[in-house]
């Protein structure tokens, strides 16, 4: 049974697109899903339904970029961390971008009300996926 008192909330488990199976998740997994959705949304995409113009930071836009050096990557990392901190459940966040032949990988560490969490986000062609859901507080999932 979902923990409805969870400080990180109970939500439908999905990161991109429409969830075919309506499964609940909570705790850090729910938080991680929220953050991944943020990083997979272009800025302002929710404005048309009345949400903030500033929501979203699409990390897919970082692909195929001609990086001038680690300074630029660090700057993007800071921007990603700032985006994550817009979520009121995130007390602090840091993001580091690493480039490889396959694409980019974003390493995220953060603090929530229930403790630290981490997230590794591989960015490939048109795909953002969770590689590692984190170290603490991962909750189970159940169908609605």
């Amino acid at each position: 049974m979902a923990n409805q008192g969870d400080p990180l909330g109970v939500g439908i488990a999905c990161t991109t697109g429409f969830p075919l199976r309506m499964q609940l998740c909570w705790g850090v997994e729910n938080l991680q899903n929220s953050l991944l959705r943020r990083l997979n949304a272009s800025q302002g995409c929710l404005a048309s339904i009345g949400d903030e113009q500033t929501y979203g930071y699409d990390v897919n836009d970082l692909l195929n970029r001609d990086w001038s050096g680690t300074g630029e990557m660090a700057a993007e990392g800071s921007a990603i961390a700032a985006e994550l901190r817009k979520d009121p459940r995130v007390q602090d966040a840091r993001a580091r971008i690493v480039a490889s032949q396959d694409g980019l990988t974003i390493y995220i560490d953060g603090e929530s009300a229930v403790g630290p969490f981490s997230l590794v986000v591989p960015v490939r062609d048109l795909t953002v996926a969770k590689l590692n859901q984190g170290l603490a507080g991962t909750g189970p999932t159940e169908a609605v």
Partner: protein, 501 residues
């Protein structure tokens, strides 16, 4: 049950979202009331986004419900606004066309009679419709030849009708101001000059005729009507007529007078000419109408009919059911006349004659000028066709009250020209929208409207504003029409303009 007020008041997004959320919270899931387990309502969450998407769709539908509801009622349909405050015109136009058989009037053109004069030598010139374009150097307004063909004689002059290049109220060109041709013709000059009298409207069924013989250009604007009360001829003084002068919202009838060669009324002098010997020159009921002075303005252009005016014409349908013509019915006929003939007559007010039983006095005006003699004659002819059996209408131009504006306007450096132009247009539109008798119920031309026009146009500051020299609202009587003063009617003319940094 949903009320009309609720249908006309779209629920906002917050209300719709709260409604959807309350349903989610109360709906039983798997047999458990209040079983919806989601607690994460932070931005970007699947459930929140889903609820907001549904609310967005409903929000659009709410506005559609409002418009659909309003579209069934004249007053509501004519005042529909979109989210930006702009009028929604389609619903009212469909309602008027399909339920009342009324099409919306298009904007009309200003028309003026111009006099073309050629010196001896270079003429004559013959030009066809559209081949001559005259303009006013002071306003830049252009007028295109409307007559099918005009020949300017060598060493002589000719008059021709010119039409404004575009429709609308922006063509405020006073007498004597249209004095140039876009493509000059050697030796040819042009002007929109006043004449002693306008084109008379003649309803003479006998063999005789009446013509203006005076040469004085009067400053006393009025309309004169000769109406025959006894049939006969002029050479034996057997015919008799009354003379009615319409001026300043009042009608004065004198006579009857015996018809003999020449008749004068003030500075108007007319000559009555008999027809062939043995025939009856004038019949009882014959009329002859002329406007003084003869303004070159045939009609003042009007903007596309407002939705409120269209609604009024739809309501006129009900007055038409009356067997005995009423004031409202005459007003409706005038509006129908405008719809049919596009005369530029957009203001009308009628009342039973104070002096003659069975007569309805009908006062008309254009947008920013009172009616011209040509407009009066055309409307009179239209009403004569409609009524006549039971009641009768006397058409007259509403008494014009020229409004001069004054004050000091300050603009940011470099913006004065644009502000002047916008202020002129805003003020013209205000005057054009004023009904006969001013803003009701007090009959005002409002000083506040002038101030608003200045600020809406982008003026930085407006001080010492006046209407006809007084810092107060101007009050019109019931049948007066506000017009633009010849020399200080527009803000760009009558005000002091200063630039600040």
């Amino acid at each position: 049950m949903t009320t009309l007020t609720e249908l006309l008041s779209p629920r906002n997004r917050d209300t719709l979202e709260a409604l959807l959320l309350s349903v989610l919270q109360e709906a039983p899931i798997e047999g458990e009331p209040g079983g919806f387990p989601v607690t994460d309502w932070i931005e970007g969450g699947f459930e929140r986004t889903f609820v907001k998407m549904a609310a967005t769709g409903l929000l659009d539908r709410e506005d559609t419900i409002r418009m659909l509801t309003a579209s069934g009622f004249l007053r509501l349909a004519s005042t529909l606004l979109d989210a930006d405050g702009n009028p929604i015109e389609g619903w009212m136009e469909i309602l008027a066309a399909q339920n009342y058989g009324r099409d919306r009037n298009d904007a009309t053109y200003t028309k003026q009679v111009l006099t073309l004069t050629c010196t001896s030598g270079p003429g004559p010139y013959t030009r066809s419709k559209g081949e001559l374009v005259a303009y006013s150097p002071s306003t830049g307004n252009k007028y295109v030849l409307l007559d099918d063909e005009v020949t300017i004689p060598d060493g002589g002059s000719v008059t021709a009708v010119f039409q404004a290049e575009s429709p609308g109220v922006g063509y405020q060109d006073s007498i004597g101001s249209i004095v140039a041709l876009v493509t000059p013709l050697p030796g040819v000059s042009v002007t929109n000059a006043a004449t002693p009298a306008g084109l008379p409207a003649s309803y003479i069924t006998g063999s005789g005729s009446i013509a203006v013989s005076s040469t004085t250009i009067t400053t006393s604007r009025r309309t004169v009507k000769l109406a025959f009360t006894t049939a006969g001829r002029a050479d034996d003084n057997s015919a008799a007529f009354t003379c009615t002068v319409y001026q300043g919202g009042a009608a004065t009838t004198t006579g009857p007078f015996a018809a003999s060669g020449t008749f004068t009324q003030g500075d108007l002098e007319v000559t009555l000419t008999d027809g062939a010997e043995g025939t009856q020159s004038f019949n009882e009921g014959d009329e002859w109408i002329v406007g003084l002075p003869g303004t070159p303005l045939i009609q003042m252009g009007a903007e596309k009919e407002t939705l409120a005016a269209l609604a009024l014409r739809c309501q006129d349908r009900f007055a038409e059911q009356s067997v005995i013509p009423t004031g409202n019915r005459f007003e409706g006929w005038v509006r129908a006349c405008e719809a049919a003939q596009h005369l530029g007559v957009v203001k009308v007010k009628a009342r039973p004659s104070l002096t003659v039983s069975g007569i309805e006095d009908v006062y008309i005006a254009g947008t920013t000028a009172t009616a011209t003699p040509a407009q009066v004659a055309a409307v009179q002819a239209y009403l004569d066709e409609q009524s006549g059996q039971v009641d009768y209408a006397n058409v007259a131009a509403a008494a014009a009250v020229a409004v001069a504006v004054g004050g000091t306007i300050r603009c940011r450096r470099g913006t004065t020209a644009a502000v002047k132009s916008a202020a002129d247009l805003a003020w013209i539109k205000y005057i054009a929208a004023l009904a006969l008798g001013g803003e009701q119920p007090d009959g005002l031309v409002e000083l506040l409207a002038l101030e608003n026009a200045m600020h809406d146009a982008g003026a930085f500051n407006a001080t010492g504003l006046t209407l006809n020299g007084t810092a107060a609202d101007l009050v019109l009587t019931a049948f007066q029409c506000a017009t633009l003063d010849e020399s200080a009617g527009l803000p760009s003319q009558g005000m002091t303009w200063q630039e600040i940094a």
